[in-house]
Amino acid sequence: MRNLWLVLLLAWPSWAQAGDPLQRLDPDLYGPGTLIAAMEELSTYSPAQAVAELLPLLGHEDIEVARTAAWLLRRMGRGPEGAQAAGTVLADGEASVASRLSAVRALGELRDSTASAALVTALGGNSDEALRVAAARALGQLHRPGAVDALTQALTADESETVRASAAQALGQVPDADGHALLSALQDSSASVRLEAIWSLARPSFAVLAGLDERLIELLQNDQNCRVQAEAAWALSGRGDQKVQAALEAARASNCRLAAQAASWAITTRK
């Protein structure tokens, strides 16, 4: 029996690659698993003929299919064409929300400079919360300047805490953010937003932001949510002076068990 399995193992690659993967990119015939497997197989040689089959998949209702198609187009150097196709799906008012969500995710994965404008529009002018969340995250994924104003607007004014939290995360990823909007977001009413703001502000690019230590200490001592207190302790573990050390020492006796654990962890790490 063992020999039989060895034979099967040796034969495995030919099973997996049986047939032309280009023929398995038809979403009318194949489901997400088959489509994704075909795209990963195509990534080994990236035939130009696949581009026409991949572009429609950027609006596939399965987000992993769209994401994989975008990744493959990017590897093939076809980012601009992909951004145009995904932007068309996003702007199509008759497309399903699932398709438009996939298109937004694809725009982030394509990482093409031409994707920014469509994402900024989606973030600021869309009534669907999930689309705005995805747009904010995709703008962060682009790692490009020019989205700070739109993300700051979303962080400060969007009624959805999920959108605001996603904007806080993205502002930690774009290169031209100055950190002041994130500093203000530490007072957001949503714990999720405050958490994302802490994690973004802990990036090295904000290391010298004035007033950050004080705000983190304030969160550590007074925030109503123990997870926020704990992550403030985490952020302080890599910063500061005796004032920070004293705040962490005091937090070891916090009524929040999680914050006390985090403070102990932070002190150990600082040593």
């Binding site: 063992r2 399995w5 060895l6 099967l8 193992l9 495995w12 690659p13 099973w15 997996a16 690659q17 280009l22 194949y30 489901g31 997400p32 698993g33 994704i36 497997a37 990963e40 080994t44 040689y45 990236s46 035939p47 130009a48 003929q49 990744w71 990017r74 590897r75 093939m76 150097g77 980012g79 990482r111 093409d112 400079s113 682009l142 790692h143 490009r144 999920t162 939290a165 290169p175 999720s192 802990a202 109503q224 949510n225 123990c226 997870r227 926020v228 704990a230 992550e231 302790a233 985490w234 952020a235 929040c256 068990r257 999680l258 654990q261 985090a262 962890w265 932070a266 150990t268 790490t269």
Partner: protein, 666 residues
């Protein structure tokens, strides 16, 4: 298959040494593979304790995650604690939690109001990292996989690398155990007390699963452990019979399928369950995940079937959802006894709650790093050729550090070639190789490093196939790529050992190339000139990404994420058949990232001698010398390159020819 419906005996403790199990319950997935995909987030998971482990046993919820999910867990060797990777909601990250089973048994809880923890739980990791797949080590620490948003990008540019870490049981003293980019996967502990893990990475342009071993502190660093894998063994377990067991899933396509594998004497993994294929092919008899060896050679597993199923990547095509339950599997005949199945959830990763004896091999002394009082990891050894002879052509070592996400979010390797910063002060910073082929230097800790052996002209003649590195005070030794990797032979008597290590460990002195800052000015002065490679003349040609012939334009105009000049130099000069992908015509591109010697542009410009030039030809014989045909070297040409400019081009190409500029993409 044997009968599957025998009820499981109640007195498990007499039969198998345990009476209860801990397992994960996740929302079901449309295909068997996505349940092991690391990025999969399925809100509504929970970690449960089934006592006794029978279909009618009592379910005790250890952690309820109505808006969250979970990514692996383990039971401590004394059977009293559980460590789990939990993500509370969509805005949380996966963090490690320690759970005290005695407090849970007394009615304690893990999560309470206001985001706080109950008395039963302790959080072990913090911050925006995703920490998953925790495994208790024989010394009581916990190993896990960390995905850091500011860590190295993975080799496919699809996310961050997941690398192996270990922490104390209280979450302190995080130690990075693995260095390479890509994904560390399949973590397990062998009978000799070594870590066994697989790394999914790029090797010579091909994505492969590569097996590695390491001591528990990675004092000697991870070492390759056999050939590349066609299947991916997940979470290997030592079976007590000198063999490793694991769930094997397909390496190509999705993370589909799954059976139980055993590693044979040749280091290959072979399926051991009759009727269950190893690859992604159809399996009407179901699929297996998460095998845990029991004392009677049977396996505690998660087992899935579908009514008329063919469990593989195509499950979702047919609207079938695999139903994973917990079973005890006899690998001899494939028979299984159901232990528990919640048809509304996927029941995964069962672990018996019992004290486990630590094997004698595992209880051995864990190697410890010395406290050297200095930052950095020290490298010492010899550069030998394949016959273990001194390689007289080797004059210097260049040390490249893989770029972190902070510097270059998407670049790590281009076309299978390393992209990195040069360690040391300036682009030409190198480490000397002594006359006896010995070298000795100290490099940055906790960073992926790759060594290049340079000739007298400063060009790489050999590249270490492995990423290497280690924590502060670690020492990495070797006596040639084909010799034992753990100790340099007679290094103490070598010439390099007579001096302190060359210190290139200061992160602040590393030189990261920027094409627009460092290379384009050279092109503008000497190449992008009227009548040559400007946008009007377009002297020469290459085949662009669309397969069309195009003139060489070295102007400083943006093109996508890079520039026209960069694209002209790096475009792969290949014409393929559009439908088959078969290569019809192929030339080397003008710039081959990682290899100045193979780059046509260097061949046409020439390289003067740079190191230890006594007895060397003044110009490299693998490139043109002065006075040859290319216009820039004609005597009347005003744009002739300086020696330093030629060496800078060599350094840039050998470092992977990065474009950089934040957001640059391969």
């Amino acid at each position: 298959m044997a009968a599957c419906q025998d009820p499981f005996p109640r007195k498990l403790n007499e039969e198998l040494g345990f009476s209860s199990i801990v397992f994960a319950q996740r929302q079901p997935a449309t295909n068997a593979g996505s349940l092991v995909a690391p990025q999969s987030f399925r809100p509504g998971g929970r970690l449960v304790w089934l006592d006794p482990a029978t279909p009618t046993g009592k379910i005790i919820v250890l952690a309820d995650l109505p808006a969250g999910d979970l990514y692996g867990h383990d039971v401590s060797a004394d059977g009293k604690s559980v460590v789990a990777s939990l993500r509370i909601d969509a805005h949380d990250r996966a963090h490690l939690y320690g759970i005290d089973l005695a407090i849970i048994a007394e009615g304690g809880s893990c999560f309470v109001a206001n985001g706080d923890l109950g008395a039963a739980c302790r959080r072990l990791t913090f911050g925006p990292t995703n920490d998953t797949r925790p495994t208790y080590l024989p010394d009581g620490r916990i190993a896990f996989l960390r995905e850091d948003p500011q860590g190295q990008v993975d080799f496919q540019g699809r996310g961050r690398s997941r690398v192996l870490f270990a922490v104390e049981a209280d979450g302190s003293h995080a130690l990075r155990l693995d260095i390479g980019p890509g994904h560390s996967l399949g973590l397990g502990v062998t009978g000799e007390g070594q870590l066994q893990f697989n790394r999914w990475t790029l090797r010579q342009g091909v994505a492969q699963f590569l097996p590695f071993r390491s001591d528990l502190n990675a004092v000697a660093g991870p070492v390759p452990d056999g050939a590349a894998l066609a299947v991916l063994p997940m979470a290997p377990q030592w079976d007590g019979q000198d063999e490793l067991l694991a769930a094997c899933v397909a390496a190509l396509g999705t993370w589909a399928a799954g059976t139980v594998c055993r590693r044979n004497q040749e280091g290959q993994w072979e399926g051991i369950v009759p009727g269950l294929p190893m690859g992604a092919g159809c399996s009407p008899q179901g699929r297996v995940r998460d095998p845990f060896p029991l004392r009677d050679q049977r396996l505690l597993v998660s087992y899935a079937t579908v009514p008329q199923g063919c469990l593989n990547t195509e499950d979702g095509d047919h609207g079938m959802i695999p139903d994973f339950g917990i079973a005890i599997l006899d690998p001899q005949d494939g028979g299984r006894r159901p232990v528990f199945n919640d048809p509304q959830r996927a029941d995964l990763q069962p672990r018996p709650v019992m004290a486990r004896a630590i094997d004698e091999g595992q209880a051995g002394i864990v190697p410890q790093l010395p406290d050297c009082g200095q930052p950095g990891v020290t490298f010492a050894g010899f550069i030998m050729d394949a016959q273990q002879q001194v390689n007289s052509a080797a004059k210097r070592l260049r040390v490249l550090q893989g770029l972190s996400g902070k510097i270059a979010p998407w670049q790590m390797e281009i076309g299978g070639r390393t992209v990195g910063a040069v360690c040391g002060n300036g682009s030409g910073a190198t480490v000397p190789i002594a006359a006896d082929a010995s070298f000795h230097f100290r490099a940055p800790a906790d960073a992926p490093l790759r060594l290049q052996v340079l000739d007298s002209y400063g060009a790489a003649i050999d590249v270490d196939p492995q990423w290497r590195g280690g924590p502060d005070c670690a020492r990495r030794t070797c006596s040639g790529c084909h010799a034992a990797a753990t100790e340099a032979v007679d290094f103490d008597a070598s010439l390099a050992a007579q001096s302190p290590p060359v210190d290139i460990s200061d992160q602040g002195t590393q030189f990261s190339f920027d094409f627009k800052r460092d290379i384009q000015p050279i092109l503008n002065a000497s190449c992008n000139t009227a009548g040559c490679h400007d946008s009007e003349t377009l002297a020469g040609n290459y085949v662009n990404l669309s397969g069309n012939l195009q003139g060489i334009d070295l102007t400083d105009e943006p093109a996508g994420r890079t520039s026209i000049a960069y694209r002209s130099l790096l475009s792969v000069d290949t014409i393929r058949n559009d439908s088959t992908g078969r290569i019809l015509v192929s030339h080397r591109p003008y710039v081959v990232p990682g290899s100045a010697r193979e780059s046509r542009v260097i061949g046409r410009l020439g390289v003067p001698c740079r190191y230890d030039c006594d007895g060397q030809a003044p110009w490299a014989d693998w490139a043109m010398g002065p006075g040859k045909t290319h216009p820039e070297d004609q005597a009347a040409w005003s744009g002739t390159l300086t020696d330093e400019q030629r060496w800078l081009l060599v350094d840039w190409i050998d470092a992977g020819a990065p474009f950089l500029g934040r957001g640059a993409s391969p």
